[in-house]
């Protein structure tokens, strides 16, 4: 079994589910003949035809909005927004309709759709191509926000997202699209949504992260291990609804927590995790919860993006501060 990248795992999941369920359709800009600008839909058009792998006009509101109509009609649309930076014109559709359709019809209509978008910095992309604004979506009731951090989780979580009976915003960390490979057998086995994954067990400090930042965070855990510090690393994966129990259980064990995310700090998902820890886990904490995040500045163009993104060093420093606090 050949090993595949996170990007190839996305393609593998799409192909698997399109084969298994004739109601699954893929739509977006350049997803058909071209196979997507990142090639996430490569080969699907040839295999499943233009009627199910739909090249849309250049219109993000349309992609999200027609997915809602398709989903209400029993199709399982997987829309692609080419870059997260272009998702905002679809925001109204996601917030006002996708997240609300089941609730406002008391279950008469539902919206089993997935909206995929590559996000995050670190690939020297043009302006508007590098931000991480997952917190905007995590704030919306009725919506799931899922972020994979490895080929295996991309495959399993995307399958789960497509099979889920409710709308999912599926954000793909493009910096690690092709960074490493894993053996991901095409078994069709989904991973659970709404739960965190413990990537590494430890008893001294809990590191909470998601997406591309799992790489730096795991590296920080390695670095700390050389100093005898055993860090537990948690990949949140479904950032909304948030599985705080897994994080709480870990913090009850370690008494220390560092949250790492690429997005800006202000009102980020890290703030919600810290608030819930303060509410329910305060008495387990030996030290204040630390956050290592992008800055509350506009993501710089790529000459400076390295200065914006959290680094291994910043994570290690935060962990040390946490350990020294008490």
């Amino acid at each position: 079994m050949a090993e595949i990248t996170l990007l190839e795992a996305v393609t593998q999941a799409l192909a698997h589910e399109m084969e298994a369920d004739p109601n699954v359709v893929v739509l977006g800009e350049d997803v058909g003949v071209n196979g997507g600008v990142f090639r996430a839909t490569a080969g699907l058009w040839e295999r499943f035809g233009a009627d199910r792998v739909i090249d849309t006009p250049l219109a993000e509101t349309l992609i999200a909005g027609m997915s809602i109509g398709m989903a209400a009609q029993g199709l399982k649309p997987v829309g692609e927004i080419q870059f997260m930076g272009f998702i905002y014109s679809a925001f109204d559709q996601i917030v006002s309709h996708a997240a609300r359709l089941r609730n406002r019809t008391r279950g008469r209509l539902s919206c089993p759709m997935v909206l995929r978008a590559p996000f995050g910095g670190g690939i020297h992309a043009p302006e508007h191509h590098s931000e991480s604004t997952e917190a905007l979506f995590a704030h919306i009731p009725g919506l799931r926000v899922v972020i994979p951090s490895s080929p295996g989780r991309a495959y399993g979580l995307l399958l789960a997202a497509i099979r889920d009976p409710d709308p999912v915003v599926f954000l793909e960390p493009k910096r690690i699209y092709r960074m490493f490979k894993e053996n991901v057998p095409d078994t069709g086995e989904a991973l659970p949504l709404d739960v965190c994954f413990v990537l590494r067990e430890g008893s001294d400090v809990t590191l909470v992260t998601w997406g591309a930042m799992t790489r730096e965070t795991l590296a920080a855990a390695d670095a700390m291990a050389r100093e005898g510090v055993r860090a537990e690393v948690i990949d949140v994966a479904t950032i909304s609804p948030l599985d705080i129990q897994t994080i709480l259980s870990s913090v009850e064990k370690t008494g220390r927590c560092v949250i790492v995310h690429e997005a800006a700090r202000n009102v980020g998902v890290g703030a919600e995790i810290a608030a819930q820890l303060a509410d329910q886990g305060l008495l387990s904490l030996f030290a204040p919860v630390k956050r290592v995040t992008g800055y509350d500045a506009i993501m710089p163009l790529h000459k400076l993006e390295h200065a914006y993104l959290p680094t291994l060093e910043r994570i290690v420093t935060a962990v040390r501060e946490t350990l020294e606090a008490a």
């Binding site: 359709v25 009627d51 739909i54 849309t56 006009p57 219109a59 509101t61 349309l62 999200a64 909005g65 027609m66 997915s67 809602i68 109509g69 398709m70 989903a71 209400a72 009609q73 029993g74 199709l75 649309p77 014109s89 109204d92 559709q93 006002s96 309709h97 089941r102 609730n103 406002r104 019809t105 008391r106 279950g107 008469r108 209509l109 539902s110 009731p141 009725g142 799931r144 009976p165 409710d166 709404d194 609804p241 948030l242 599985d243 705080i244 129990q245």
Partner: protein, 377 residues
Amino acid sequence: MAMRPEDPTREGAHDAAADGSRPVARFEVRYSQILDHTGAVVGRLPKLAREPRALIPLYRAMVLTRLFDAKAVALQRTGQLGTYPSSLGQEATAVGLGAALESRDVLLPFYRDTGTQFMRGVRMTDILLYWGGDERGMAYEGPVEDFPISVPIATHAPHAVGVAYALKHRAESRAAVCSLGDGATSKGDFYEALNAAGVWQLPLIFLVTNNQWAISVPRCDQSHAETLAQKAIAAGIEGEQVDGNDVLAVYETMRRALARARAGGGPHLIEALTYRIADHTTADDASRYRDDAEVSRQRALDPIDRVRKYLTAAGAWSDADESTLEAECRLELEEGVKEYLATPARAPDSMFDHLFEALPAALEAQRDEVKKGGSRG
């Protein structure tokens, strides 16, 4: 109707201008009317109207809609209903659409489509529940595939594209109708949807109820285009105008467009010209921004009066019929209102019932908190 560009290579196909340029495409937008405001037949009567009495159900639906609107406004004024948008004066467009739709079609309505929704089988109680502040009013038992009304303007236009795509994808002989107002034609959602419907030749009709006012903004300030129907032309779709106060013209134009769409003939845009006699909603006061004289002039073009005149002239309607009809409608209305007012309140924690198919564990504590009736802190 939009005309396709003529073959530019054909000899003498075009008139070259002095600068050598020549027209490559020509378009026109047609307007139709069957019954004018006096009740006179000015167009070709559709099959439906060969027997005048066959118009009575349409007449009845318009009367019922008008009485319902008046009742809903009264309920709002007496604190028994939330903000309500009356469709006073637009009944012919709503009912003409309702009459042309078949149950297999899918309607994506907006908030002034009450009359159409009644004809689709949405109950008065549901409409009242919704405007009374209860989501159960969107759980329609009748037209189970119809969308609930869209409150944000034009945002349902892309949904209609998705619905129509699904219908076409399954090769079903059905069509979708997206109903919107004149203000909606200024929004990007509308253009994106119209464009895509053209690209994929979807079984989708856009019905623009042009009631001349988007709250306080008149039609002339909404767009410099001569007609809203012509917005279809840029998307390669046929657009036409119809007298929106003429229930027969709306019905017949919609019927033809729907039949064509169901048969694979593609999308269509129909602009129904009518007038919003009422305020935008019960929270609005139109006297702040428009002249009473304009409203009076429009009242003379009333959609209901003209049908009564037509039926009366044809010997198919009497004062006694009118009294009977009104009594029937009032009875129906009373029952609907009674049922609405008697509907037991929802449990507060039901706000969590349909957030997702199954409530995520993360939300159980909040639901339980509401269930207990207060903060756990």
